[in-house]
Amino acid sequence: MSVNRDQRVDLEVVANLIPPQSRVLDVGSGDGSLLELLQDTKQVDGRGLELSQRGVNECVARGLSVIQGDADKDLEFYPDKGFDFVVLSQTLQATRNPKLVLDELLRIGNRAIVSFPNFGHWRVRLSLFIQGRMPVTKDLPYSWYDTPNIHFCTIRDFVNLCDELGATVEKATALDANGQKIGLSMPWWFWNFFGQQAVFLLKR
């Protein structure tokens, strides 16, 4: 749905947040990598919602329980707290209304796990500051005119949005350019500068 899945270092971080046998909804499940990982290693009861019909058909052919749908439109049909975890990985920035989507995730799941590319990363800042151009990086390989990513945010922006929605951050992880976790003792500004991706575990 959004970014290149070959470089999805966040998947394992997400998977580690989910205990075995949980009920999981993966919003923007793409080719089903996360669902398959969770099913194989955690025996979760997993469901997926994916925008691209091709992605959905591939998932179903692989035996995954996935439907075609749009995070912006189709979350309203899910009941309150119907899942232990609702995952939105690398998709928030591609939604039309990220605030509403996040609100829905917190309604549907006992917990929400959100991963996103950090637009506050130093490479992004450098690209804008020095070159004066929209950044095209390994993680964000699109040009400004063809990107599906229409609502970028920084880690700080996201934390603010969580506050606004009354969500508690239970856990947060930032990954640097090599996919390594940034030390927990580091302050937010450090995460916001060196974190290329962030993974948040939220509850409301």
């Binding site: 469901r47 019909q53 959905v56 996935v66 075609q68 189709d74």
Partner: protein, 392 residues
């Protein structure tokens, strides 16, 4: 009618009472409760099975047939001599592998190939029921199927699948007997018949009834059959099973065995000739009154209405695994119909997959060799079988 067609027509009629497939007969002690408020008794169900029921009786798949289908899903049809209607999908080594699963398919109540229907003999009069048979609903068909499943001693079906009217039965099964359905695969169907669909059915019925040979439904007693009316009904219906793109691709404005327009009302165009052929071959294998009953059963289907207007309530608390399939060019049961079922299932917290398949072959795509359809069915059945503990 040529001699061969006459022979086939007689064969259809014989199949109604004495089908060449196995029959389960229910006496006065086991009547079928009908939604119409009456009891049907005695009655019978004609069916076919393929493969072997395992010791745990956990490998049974029930296939529900569509409007003009029958129980001969994976073996030669005794009336037409043609292969079973879903032989591309079902058989030894196929996607639904009959060396692994026990496949059951029964003729629906109201049909004309051996299960009690309007062409069957009414035991009270000794003549065919005709319109004396009460209206049959999708739920009635499913209720009868359930009695057949009881007969096999199967508590829980591994899977119930079917397309179109068969899909309606699948939904009804999952809603009425959720604890007896491990997985459900409704294809190219809807939770209700739309106004447009009822309209097309009404055109078909009026065509049958306008045929003087219909005789108020008592045509057998007059030694006649309303063939012209039924053929027109089939022609109109057949158009709805295809798509404009597919029709144009196949026939365009091509002329039939001629160089130029004849300035008359012969079948100048290939599409006309094709439709006439479809109509003519249909009357050889199908009973006109049964066509009235079948179309009516679909018209009456409205699963949400049966549950206080909220479709999600039809599936409340379900543990059944669902997979829905629709086709982009199906205008009889457009994707939106499937999507609304998916939304209801989501609201009910059900496990559901949903695949929309890109094709220009219209509603009938579910009967054809569609690789993406087969891949979806294969993936869904495979994972359901693992969850059910069925070995490969």
């Amino acid at each position: 009618m040529d001699a061969m067609a006459a022979l086939r027509a007689r064969k259809t009629n014989n199949e109604a009472d004495q089908p060449s497939s196995p029959v389960l007969r229910f006496g006065p002690d086991k009547p079928l409760k009908l939604d119409a408020g009456t009891l049907l008794s005695p009655f019978q169900i004609a069916y076919q099975t393929y493969g072997t029921l395992n010791d745990a009786r956990s490998n049974a798949i029930l296939v529900c047939h569509a409007l003009t289908g029958d129980q001969h899903v994976a073996s030669t049809n005794p009336v037409t001599g043609k292969p079973g209607w879903w032989e591309v999908l079902i058989g030894p080594g196929k996607i639904i592998d009959t060396s692994r699963f026990f496949v059951i398919c029964s003729n629906v109540i109201g049909g004309c190939l051996g299960s009690t229907g309007p062409a069957s003999t009414n035991p009270i009069t000794g003549k065919p029921y005709g319109l004396d048979l009460p209206i049959i609903t999708i739920r009635d068909m499913v209720r009868a199927q359930q009695m057949l499943i009881d007969h096999f001693g199967i508590e829980k079906l591994f899977c119930v699948l079917g397309g179109s009217m068969g899909g309606m039965q699948v939904l009804e099964w999952a809603s009425s007997y959720p604890e007896r359905v491990f997985s459900a695969l409704p294809i190219a169907t809807g939770a209700r018949h739309s106004s447009q669909n009822i309209a097309f059915h009404e055109v078909g019925r009026q065509a049958v009834m306008a045929d003087p040979d219909w005789h108020g439904g008592k045509y057998f007693e007059h030694g006649k059959r309303p063939e012209k009316g039924l053929a027109v009904a089939r022609m109109a219906a057949h158009i709805t099973y295809l798509s404009e793109a597919a029709l144009h691709r196949k026939f365009g404005r091509n002329l039939q065995d001629r160089e130029a327009l004849t300035f008359g009302f012969d079948a100048d165009f290939q599409i006309e000739s094709y439709l006439r052929h479809q109509g003519m071959t249909f009357v050889d294998r199908f009973d006109a009154n049964s066509y009235l009953y079948m179309t009516r059963s679909m018209d009456y289907f409205d699963l949400a209405a049966d549950h206080g207007g909220r479709l999600a309530d039809a599936f409340a608390g379900t543990k059944t695994r669902f997979c829905l399939v629709s086709f982009t060019s199906d205008w009889l049961f457009p994707t939106e119909e499937s999507r609304s079922i998916v939304h209801a299932l989501n609201a009910a917290g059900a496990s559901v997959s949903f695949v929309e398949i890109e094709t220009d072959r219209g509603h009938d795509a579910f009967l054809l060799d569609e690789p993406e359809l087969f891949a979806a069915i294969n993936g869904f059945i495979g994972s359901a079988a693992r969850a059910r503990g069925l070995s490969a």
